[in-house]
């Protein structure tokens, strides 16, 4: 039983991080109709900034409380980078065909990848002090790292907040209105440019949280963004691009399949995920949670 519980926790852990990345990607697409290929790099940016900040604090001999307080640093950095990118690079492209937007974000991917290498060098950064500080709890006969439970909690809280934000606040109404019909929203007095900026920043913030909370349990390495993006794509393809419920369901499916795959069919674990995505697309073209009419 305890082994099974650990598998469940691992699947949830994985799903949490994936939801944070894919949810942001999906939100951005839902509102702005832009597939941000550089989204994974913002996740990586979050991881690197947090790892760097915590590493600095540890060197300075800061107590554990400060280290925990520094966790959100990466998310804030990713949000800031997102805001700058939207204002300077994406805004000229809203009227151009979407192929150019893809190319633009691909260029950004290359640039961000190397900027991270330029700033933090080629070696992995880690922030294991935070991970170790929480120790582990016992599940049956086995020990399980407490920090992993924190990640799961953050994922659940983030999903709940996001839901409340989008369905229960005025900003959420404006966001959904812009997503459904940009021109009508604009005609009714919504400042679409501002909504775009906020949506993109929020999406990047979520990716940043993902990177920030994951980095104490695994190191920040070059290329983590590109790998994460492909998995996030699988999630949004399964759940439906532009749907947050879909991102949540997709993240859970991918999390469970991955956890099962690692122990049952390690060689084809990734291939199975891609094939699930392809099958979902064949059966329900717009994904599980999006009505096909759009």
């Amino acid at each position: 039983v305890s082994v099974f519980a650990i598998h469940v926790f691992n699947a949830l852990l994985y799903s949490s991080v994936l939801f944070l990345i894919a949810g942001g990607l999906s939100l951005i697409y839902g509102v702005m109709r832009i597939v941000n290929l550089a989204h994974g790099n913002l996740y990586a940016l979050g991881a690197f900034v947090t790892a760097w900040a915590i590493g600095r604090a540890v060197d300075a001999g800061a107590p554990n409380v400060v280290l925990f307080a520094l966790l959100p640093a990466g998310a804030i950095a990713a949000a800031g980078a997102g805001a700058v990118i939207e204002r300077t690079l994406l805004r000229p492209f809203y009227k151009r065909p979407e192929e150019y937007q893809l190319l633009m974000t691909f260029g950004l991917l290359m640039i961000l990848e190397d900027l991270i290498r330029l700033v933090w060098g080629p070696n992995p950064l880690s922030a294991t002090n935070v991970y170790a500080a929480l120790g582990s709890i016992s599940i049956g006969d086995d020990r399980y790292p407490t920090y992993n439970l924190v990640i799961i909690a953050v994922g659940i809280v983030a999903a709940a907040f996001l839901w409340a934000f989008i369905y229960r606040t005025r900003f959420g109404v404006l966001l959904r209105a812009t997503s459904q019909d940009k021109r009508m929203a604009s005609a009714l007095g919504v400042n679409v440019n501002r909504i775009y900026l906020q949506a993109f920043t929020l999406g990047c913030f979520m990716a940043g949280i993902g990177g920030a909370i994951v980095v104490p349990s695994q190191s920040a390495v070059l290329g983590m963004g590109v790998d994460a993006l492909v998995l996030a794509f699988i999630v949004v393809v399964i759940g439906g691009l532009g749907s947050l419920e879909g991102a949540l369901a997709g993240a859970l499916i991918v999390g469970v399949v991955r956890e099962a795959g690692i122990s049952l069919f390690p060689e084809i674990e990734l291939a199975v995920l891609y094939l699930i995505a392809a099958m979902v697309l064949l059966a329900r073209p717009a994904g599980l949670f999006v009505r096909a009419s759009r």
Partner: protein, 330 residues
């Protein structure tokens, strides 16, 4: 009036020959003019050009942006590696035939799924499927060599074995071999895009609904275009194998597909020669950027941003616009 028409029909031919003949002469004389390193880079460029040419049948002529062409390129390269390793085939002609067959099979399978979609979904789906191959190559290391990849030795060309000096063989014999394949590919692609089939693809690109109303079977045409495109890229992958000497999962990662997109846009996807110009230019750009700095991605990414912002029609598109403006002002 008829005089005008005749002039306009004849002048483009003259203009085409005016640059085609010198370029062809330069390509033929290249091994004698440049040092082996330059010739090898040019060989890489010509191979990339075959792939980009195939890719552009989808992007420029059918209006579908694939972000998964690494799959067909990789299928070509790995087929060569497998045939050499497991069947001990040394003849390049047989290797090419095998690669064409393999990339055709992969592109029929993937294309069948992908052509149901257009625009962004097409891009994401091609990307996701290409990563299936990547993960297989990555995980089945006892077959594919994993991240180490498989060695691809120098093959025999038209029955003639490799000479002792490998550099000389690649920069001379292999160069001409690639050049001939390249010329044949350009010719075939030229015929394809100027055939009724090619015109139908352009009709689908410009207006899907109208194309359907005049009786074009959209999905079938897209699938055929997809397969031709995949086979060209697979052929490029096959030629690339012996030149690079190694088939590794790097060429299956989706960012490699991004490079194929990059070179096509660099040259200009609105013209026939655009992808060729772009592929050669990109190869030189990347070779020198990699040699110049470890941050070559930063450099190329910036080039891409500037390109997309300032020159969306690429090198050839910009030249076309400039000459058109010049002619109007004269």
């Amino acid at each position: 009036m008829s005089g005008f028409a005749r002039v306009f029909q004849i002048r483009p031919l003259w203009r085409t020959l005016a640059w085609l003949v010198p370029v062809a002469a330069l390509l033929i004389a290249a091994p004698y003019l440049f040092d082996p390193f330059q010739t090898l880079t040019l060989t890489y460029g010509l191979i990339a050009a075959i792939g980009a040419l195939g890719f552009n049948l989808l992007l420029g002529y059918t209006g579908l942006l694939s972000f998964g062409h690494s799959a067909y390129f990789g299928a070509g390269t790995y087929t060569v590696a497998f045939l050499v390793k497991y069947l001990k085939i040394a003849s390049m002609e047989l290797l090419l035939a095998g690669s064409v067959l393999a990339s055709a099979i992969v592109s029929v399978l993937f294309g069948y799924v992908c052509v149901r979609y257009t625009r962004i979904f097409f891009g994401i789906l091609t990307l996701a499927l290409s990563q299936v191959l990547w993960s297989l190559a990555f995980k089945f290391f006892w077959v594919t060599g994993g991240t180490d990849g498989l060695r691809v030795p120098t093959p025999t060309l038209l029955g003639a074995g490799p000479t002792d000096d490998k550099m000389e063989f690649l920069a001379y014999h292999y160069y001409y071999y690639v050049l001939v394949v390249f010329a044949v590919c350009v010719l075939i692609m030229w015929v394809v895009v100027h055939s009724p089939f090619g015109k139908a693809l352009q009709a689908i690109r410009d207006n899907e609904t109208r194309a359907e109303f005049i009786g074009i079977r959209i999905r079938r045409y897209r699938l055929i275009a997809f397969v031709i495109s995949g086979v060209f890229t697979g052929l490029a992958g096959a030629l690339w194998g012996p030149l690079n000497g190694l088939a590794s999962p790097d060429i299956l990662v989706w960012t490699f597909s991004g490079e194929i997109v990059f070179m096509t846009v660099l040259g200009g996807f609105t013209t026939f020669v655009g992808p060729i110009v772009g592929a050669v230019a990109f190869t030189y750009l990347k070779t020198y950027a990699v040699g110049f700095t470890v941050y070559w991605q930063l450099l190329l990414g910036t080039v891409l941003l500037v390109l997309v912002l300032a020159l969306p029609t690429g090198i050839t598109g910009a030249i076309q616009d400039a000459t058109a403006r010049l002619r109007r002002s004269v």
